[in-house]
Each structure stands twice: as C-alpha cells, then as structure tokens.
Amino acid sequence: MITIIRKELADYFTSIRVFILFLLVFLASAAGLYASYQGIRGIEPGTGFVFLRLFTSSGEVIPSLVTFIALFVPIIGIALGFDAINSERSSGTLSRILSQPVYRDNVINAKFLAGIVTLSIMMAATILIVSGFGLRMIGVPPTTEEIIRLFLYLVLTIVYGAFWMGLAILFSVLFRRIATSLLSSLALWLFFGFFYVNLIVPAIAKTTETFLLLQRFSPNTLFQEATTVLLLPEWRGAGILTAGEEIAYMLLNPLSLGQSMLIIWPQLTSLISLTAVCFAISYVLFMRQEIRPT
C-alpha cells in the first residue's frame, strides 16, 4: 500500500492541477492577509486573541482569510478526488493494478490517504505562511491558546476538505465519466454552499430553531460555525442553548478553549462522520464493482 501512496503523492506533486491549486491558495492567503491588514486596525485592544484576528478580520471589500479558506477547501477536496477511480478505469490502468498481488481496498485507501496528505500539506503551509507574515505585520506573537486554536482549525479544515474529497471519490467510483463526477461534486457544493443555505432554508423555516436546525444539514454551515467558534471566541451562536433571541443580551466575553471545544464537538463529529460515510460507501461500491477493462 505504501508503494501506491508514494506513487499517488508523486502524481499529485508533479501535476499541473495541484500546482494551480497551490497558486490559488497562496493568492487567497495573500488577499486574506491584505484584508486583515486593512481590518485589524479597527479592533479594540484588550479583547485578547489579536493574532487570531489575522484570520478573521475582513477589509473594506476583501473578505477575511477564513472566508477564502471556507471557499477553497471544498474546491481543493473535489479537485483531489473527482477522478481518483474513474480515470484509472478509463485509462485501463485499474485492471492492470488489480491483477497484481495487492488487496483491492489498498488501492482506494491509498488514494484517500494520499489526498489527505496533500490536503494537509497545503493547509498547513497556508496557515504557517499567513502566521509568519502576520507576525511580521502586527508584531504580536500568538499566545499558547491561540496556537492551539489555530492547530484545531487546521484539523477542522483538513476534515472538511476530506469530506469533499470523500464525496468526490464516491462520485468517481459511481460514475464512469470523469466530467460527470466532477460536475456532480461541484453541483452538490454549489447546492449546499449557496442554494440550500441562502434560498431553501429561509424559505421553509418558520422559527429560528428550525432555521438553525435545517442549516446544520449543510456541511458548509457546520464548518462555518466551527470555524467561528474556534477563531472568534467571543461568538456564541453555535450552541444548542443559545439559539434564539437571547443571544443579543449576552456579554462579549471570550469562551475558554475547553468551552469552545465543547460547543463545536457536534459540528466536528458530524463532519468526521460525514467523511467516514462517504468513504465507506465508496469503499463498499468499489469492492463490489466489476472490473471490466472495457
């Protein structure tokens, strides 16, 4: 299996696709940094977590870095997974690999793991670069808690990216044509990122409770809420108890790390289980699929 992972990683890192993705991510982080350069002056000192504001404050026009990341992580995940299986099938390499003495699940496991490694490298690089430049820019070093929060945020983005990659891999097992699997993944991303949250849920939800409940069916919302709780400790919107009007009367006191963790626990586990479900379905389908070379 290590052989396959190594080959997949080599493929990723020599492909133009991943190069473009890296470029995109770095452009986005540059834009995000610029946004926080504009916006970070506006925050009051003494609220703590100045360093985290690098990621969350937005400029006059440019949205914040976390908005960019929330936008790009699904695209990266989809780009890493949409042709995982069907490209091998259509180029005739799948039947050749599977006639070697390797277990069939090694192939799909290796692809998934190689994708996660690539994703992790990308996201870790982004966050580290932004932190480095940000440190130079604002001159305030991060506290230990901020470092832990950033690390948790990194884990969260990787899980979120892994979910979209798992979904894309599922479509690549399901559909023989590469274009079909790419378009289906992108369509689902658009649906959850835009139509579902902005159009469908407001249209059918009568109360705030149902509104929040329905929104949380979207992985995008789960990610956004978890991000906000992790990086904006003052924010209280994501708890079960705080859904509703009373949110307006709350004091703007930052939550402790443990409390933040407690709040995002459901979001995080939902994302992990969604990833696991996607992967499990693709795994089962792949194991049972006929490998006709034609």
Partner: protein, 311 residues
C-alpha cells in the same frame, strides 16, 4: 504435450444482468503449453480470463490455477499470473521504465532485480530505446509491447494475454508471436485469446473454442485438425489437363481410397493414408497429363468454420 493440468475450470458460469456470458465452462490447460482461447466477439473469452485471475467472481462452478482458487485465494493466483488486458493502459505521465517499476514494486521485486528485468524485457519487446520516454507519447502498438513486458515482469508461471497482437504492425506481430512461442521454455504457461486464427495456429499447442459462453471444442491442434477434416481422413487434390472418367474408376480401386469426386479437371480423393505416390502412378499410367497434386493441410480456419457452420 503431456504436462500435468495446471489450470482447470469446472462448470464455470458467469451472468451479467441476467445474461449468461460464460455457461458451464470446462477447460483443461497443461503446464508449459500455449493455450489459445478462440471464439467470436462476445463469446466470453475475456470474462473467462478475468475469472481465472480472480478479478471477477463466478456465479457458480469453480476454477483452479496452480492449485489455488482465484475466488478464495486471489492474491496467491495474482502472484503467479501475469495479465495483459484487452485495452492495456499505463500512466501517461510516467515513463515506460517507471510504469514497469511501479508494477515490480507492487510485486515486492527488489529494485536491482526489477531494473535488470525491466531493461531486459524492454529490449525483448523492442522498445528499449524509448524506455525513458513518457508513455503519453507512445503509439498504440508501443503500448501493446509495453503491456507484454508488463505481464512478464514478475516472471509469471502463467501469462494471460488478452489479444496480445492487437494494434501491432506485421513485424511486431511476428516478434510477439516468437516471444510467446519461447515462453514455455522459460517455464511459463500461456493462455491467450484471439480471433486471429493463423496467429493462434502458429504458436498454440492446444485450443478451446468458445461460443456463447460454452466450449464448442477443446483439444490439441493436430488432433482437432484431423477430426475437423472428413473424420480423420487425408484429402488429396489432383488436377489434370482434361477430365478422364476412366481415371476415377482406377483411383477408386486403389487400396485405401474411400471416395473420389470429380469436379471438372479436379479429382478430390479421400483416403485413409497419404496415397500421393500411388495416385500419381495411376494418373500417369492412364495417360492423363498431370498438372498438380496436393494434400490438403488443415488450417485452423477449417476447424473454426466447421464448428460455426454447424451452429
């Protein structure tokens, strides 16, 4: 060929969406022979190979490859078997050498050993000079040659070659057939599928003809050829300058002749043995100018057509 049977199927059956593609197939393939799997398109040749490799589960029946069941111990079979798929494909962004190295690594062949074998095989299949070119730049025929090298990289005990000569130029076909013919000497049993009858006839020791998933006929080529042509008889064709009715009677009386038919200047004789010398003597003695005489050799075409006409 009297090696022991190393590949065997018993009532092997496979359905796709309710259509029976392979129907209670029984095959016997001996060690170090070249076995040709013949049949029209859609006869179930590829499906049979996939089942023997453990890439597809049979609906019922069983198969044995060197004592292992491809269904229950697929990895053991795959360790022994090399496979050239019908539309062989490679990673276009890797070179020929890298593609083979990847497969060698999957087979746990050491790097040094793999390097040696890769160089050797690429030379044998005639693409040694493009070993470090990415496969994306290869033509169909070059990929096919690389595919053959790929199937042999693990030094297999059995090689399943699905249409090994597809897409090759005439020279490539000759080289490939020579290569295949040499495999048994290196200890490899070969199962190849094809519809190129003359190619099969050139290299195969035994054949099995499939039609609609059933074995129509199976056995060694010599024996099948005799059986196909007039029940084991020799067929001799005599051409004379003009028809001579008396000659028919004379030939008919020769010992061993079974039947004589005249077609214009041609005499078609069925005999128990090769009676060319006796017949020539009879023709000359009857004062009929003899133009030519030949003994009909069976060709695989005859065998093939005979069994498909009867269908």
């Amino acid at each position: 060929m009297d090696g022991k049977i190393v590949i065997e199927t018993k009532e092997l059956t496979k359905n796709y969406d309710g259509v029976t593609v392979v129907d209670r197939l029984n095959l016997h393939i001996r060690e170090k022979e070249i076995f040709g799997l013949l049949g029209p398109n859609g006869a179930g040749k590829t499906t049979t190979i996939l089942m023997l490799l453990g890439l597809t589960e049979p609906a019922s029946g069983s198969a044995w490859v060197f004592g292992y069941s491809p269904t229950r111990e697929p990895l053991k079979v795959k360790r022994l078997a090399g496979y050239l798929p019908e539309n062989v494909g490679f990673y276009n962004n890797l070179t020929a050498r890298e593609n083979l190295m990847f497969i060698a690594e999957l087979n746990n062949i050491s790097r040094a050993e793999a390097n040696r074998r890769i160089g050797e095989l690429l030379e044998i299949v005639g693409i040694g000079e493009v070993a470090n070119l990415t496969v994306g730049k290869f033509s169909r025929g070059m990929k096919q040659r690389l595919g053959i090298a790929d199937a042999l990289i693990k030094n297999p005990k059995v090689a399943f070659l699905d249409e090994p000569t597809a897409g090759l130029d005439p020279e490539g076909i000759n080289q490939t057939l020579d290569l295949i013919a040499n495999l048994p000497q290196m200890g490899t049993t070969v199962v190849l599928s094809s519809h190129q009858l003359y190619q099969v006839q050139r290299v195969c020791h035994s054949i099995g003809i499939l039609s609609k998933g059933k074995t129509v006929i199976e056995g060694s080529l010599d024996q099948l050829g005799r059986e196909a042509l007039a029940g084991g008889n020799y067929r001799i064709e005599v051409e004379t300058a003009q028809p001579n009715p008396q000659l028919i009677d004379i030939v008919n009386k020769l010992p061993g002749v079974r039947k004589v038919e005249a077609e214009g200047n041609l005499l078609l004789i069925n005999a128990d043995s090769d009676l060319r010398a006796e017949i020539a003597k009879a023709v000359v003695q009857s004062n009929t100018p003899l133009i030519q005489m030949k003994i009909q050799e069976f060709s695989l075409d005859d065998i093939y057509m005979k069994y498909f006409k009867e269908d």
